[in-house]
Amino acid sequence: MERPLTQNIRPGEEPLDLKGYEAAGGYRAARKALLSMAPQDVTALVKASGLRGRGGAGFPTGQKWEFLPMGPDAPRPKYLCCNADEMEPGTFKDRLLMEGDPHQLVEALILTAYAVQAEVCYVFVRWAYAKSARLLEKAVAEAVEAGLAGRNILGTGFNLDIRVHSSAGRYMCGEETGLLNALEGRRASPRAKPPFPPVSGLFGKPTLVDNVETLCSVPHIVNNGADWFRRLSLTGEGGTKIYGMSGRVKRPGAWELPLGTRVREILEVHAGGMKEGYAFRALLPGGASTDFQVELDVDLDFTHEPLVGSRLGTGTSIVLDDRTCPVGFVLNIERFMARESCGWCTPCWSGLAWIVKTLEAIEQGQGRPEDLEILDRHVRDLAPGHTFCALAPGAVEPLGSALRLFREDFERHIKEGRCPWK
C-alpha cells in the first residue's frame, strides 16, 4: 500500500532536513513544475487528479485554484494561505504532517503558489502547535538558502515569500475568511461571500486558502500524475487520507490509508477495536462538527458518508461507547462551540448558548419534556443559510443526529430526573 504523505515520517524521530528530504526524492516535483510546466498546467493536473479539500468542507481543489485571476492584468500580489489552524475537536492529522515532514509542506506551498502565481504565502499555525511552527520556519529557511524559495526561485524569476504566522488562539481563525481577518489584525469574524477569497481575499487581493493535508498531496500529484492519484483511493475519489480515531478504542491514532477505507476497518484493524469492557455505539466520522452515525460498513469518503447522513469532514473519528452518556457527549461539544463562537451572527452566539443551557438542565436532571422541542428547533434554526459561516451549522450536526439516534436517552434523563450514566 502506498503512503505518499507519510512516507518520510518516522514516529519519535526528527523530521528530514533539506538534504534528507531531497535524498528521499523531495523537491523533484518543484523542479519539474517550475522548470518545465506552465502554472496553468499544474492547476489542470491537480483538477484532473480529483483532489478535494481535507480541511472539512471537501471543495474540489483544482476548481478553487481556477477561480484566481491569472495573466498580466491580475491584481498583485496574490496570496496563498495554508490553513494550519487545526482546532476541530478530535482532529490531529495536520500536526502529524507538519511535525513529521515539514519540507513536504514547504514544497507543496511552492508548487501551489507557482500554479496560481502567488507571491506571498502565510502558513497560519495555531498557537498550540509551536513545534510545527518552529520546524516549518527551519524548513523555509533551508529552502530559501537552497534557492527553492524566496527570490528568483531556481533562476526562473518566480518569487515566493513564505511566512509562518502563529495564531493567538481561536477556533474561528480556521474559518476561511476568519483566517483572513485574523491576518489583517482584525477579529476573526467571518466575511460575507461573495466576493470569495480567490477574487478578493487578504488585503483585498486574490487569495487561495487550502488546508495542510490537501496541499501535501500536490507534490505527489505532480510527480506521479493524476491517474496514479485517482488509483490510490479505493472509491475513485483520489488519493489517500490521514484517518484518525479516538475515544475508548484500544489504539487511538492516525493512519494514512486509501481514501474510501471502510469505517469498520479503521475501528477494528487500525484502532484495534474497542477497549475491553466497552461496546461501540456510534461515532462522529470527521470531527466534532459532523453527524453521528451507527453504521460501520461505510466507505469513509465524500460520496458514501452522506448516504448514512454524515460526511467525511476532517476524517478523524470520535467514538461514542456504551458507557458514555450521549447527552454529556453532545453537551461537551456544544460548550466548545458556544465558547468559540465569535459573536458575529445572532443565531450562533445566542442559539448555541441556549442549547448549552438546555442540555445542562437535561444532564443535571432538570430537563422538561418541551426541552427536546426547543433543541429540535435550534437544529433547524442554526442550519446552513442563517449565519455567515459554518460554525453554527456544524455545531448542530452532532446535536441533531443525537436527538434522532439517542432520543430515548434524552427522554430517560428528563423522565428519571437524572443522568442514568452517573
Binding site: G185, R248, N332
Partner: protein, 154 residues
C-alpha cells in the same frame, strides 16, 4: 513598560505587512513573551505602534484566548476540556490539579507559580487526557502522574 527591544521587534513586524495593524497579534505576542501578560500600559504603547486605537487593540486582545490581559503565574497550565479528553475523564485530572494547587480554573496559586486555564482541543486526542504547560505537551495523564510533571516547573 514596553522595552526598546519590544519596540524594534514590533516595528520590524509592522514593516513586513501592507498595513500596520496586520502586525497587531505579533505585537501583543512580543509583549507577552517578555512580560507573561499584556498590561494596560503596554497595550496603549502597542496600539500606537500598530496604528490602532487602544479600544480596537483591546477588542482584538480580548478576542484571543492566548493573549492574557491579567497577570499569570510563572507557568501556565492549559488543560484540554474538549470531547476526547472528556471521554477519557479529564475532570479527574483537573480535580487533582485544583486540590494540589489550591486554586480553581482561571486562578493563579499563592506563590505565583502556576495559572490553571481550560483550553479547547489540543490536537492530542490519541493521548487524551492531555494538557500543556508553557508550551510542552503532556498526554496520557493520570491523577497519580501529575505531581511528577509539576515538579519540572519551578
Amino acid at each position: 513598560m514596553i522595552t526598546e527591544d519590544d519596540r524594534r521587534e514590533i516595528e520590524a513586524a509592522a514593516a513586513r505587512v501592507p498595513v500596520r495593524r496586520a502586525a497587531a497579534v505579533e505585537a501583543l505576542q512580543v509583549i507577552q513573551k517578555r512580560n507573561g501578560w499584556v498590561s494596560d500600559e503596554d497595550l496603549r504603547a502597542a496600539a500606537g505602534l500598530v496604528g490602532m486605537t487602544v479600544t480596537e487593540l483591546d477588542g482584538l486582545a480580548s478576542f484571543y484566548s492566548m493573549i492574557f490581559r491579567k497577570p499569570v503565574g510563572r507557568h501556565v497550565i492549559l488543560f484540554c476540556d474538549s470531547i476526547c479528553c472528556w471521554i477519557q475523564g479529564y475532570e479527574k485530572i483537573v480535580d487533582g490539579l485544583c486540590s494540589r494547587l489550591g486554586i480553581r480554573p482561571g486562578e493563579t496559586d499563592r506563590e505565583g507559580r502556576f495559572t490553571l486555564l481550560p483550553s479547547p482541543c489540543l490536537g492530542a486526542c490519541d493521548h487524551a487526557p492531555a494538557m500543556m504547560v508553557d508550551g510542552d505537551l503532556h498526554g496520557d495523564l493520570t491523577p497519580e502522574g501529575i505531581e511528577a510533571i509539576l515538579e519540572r516547573y519551578k
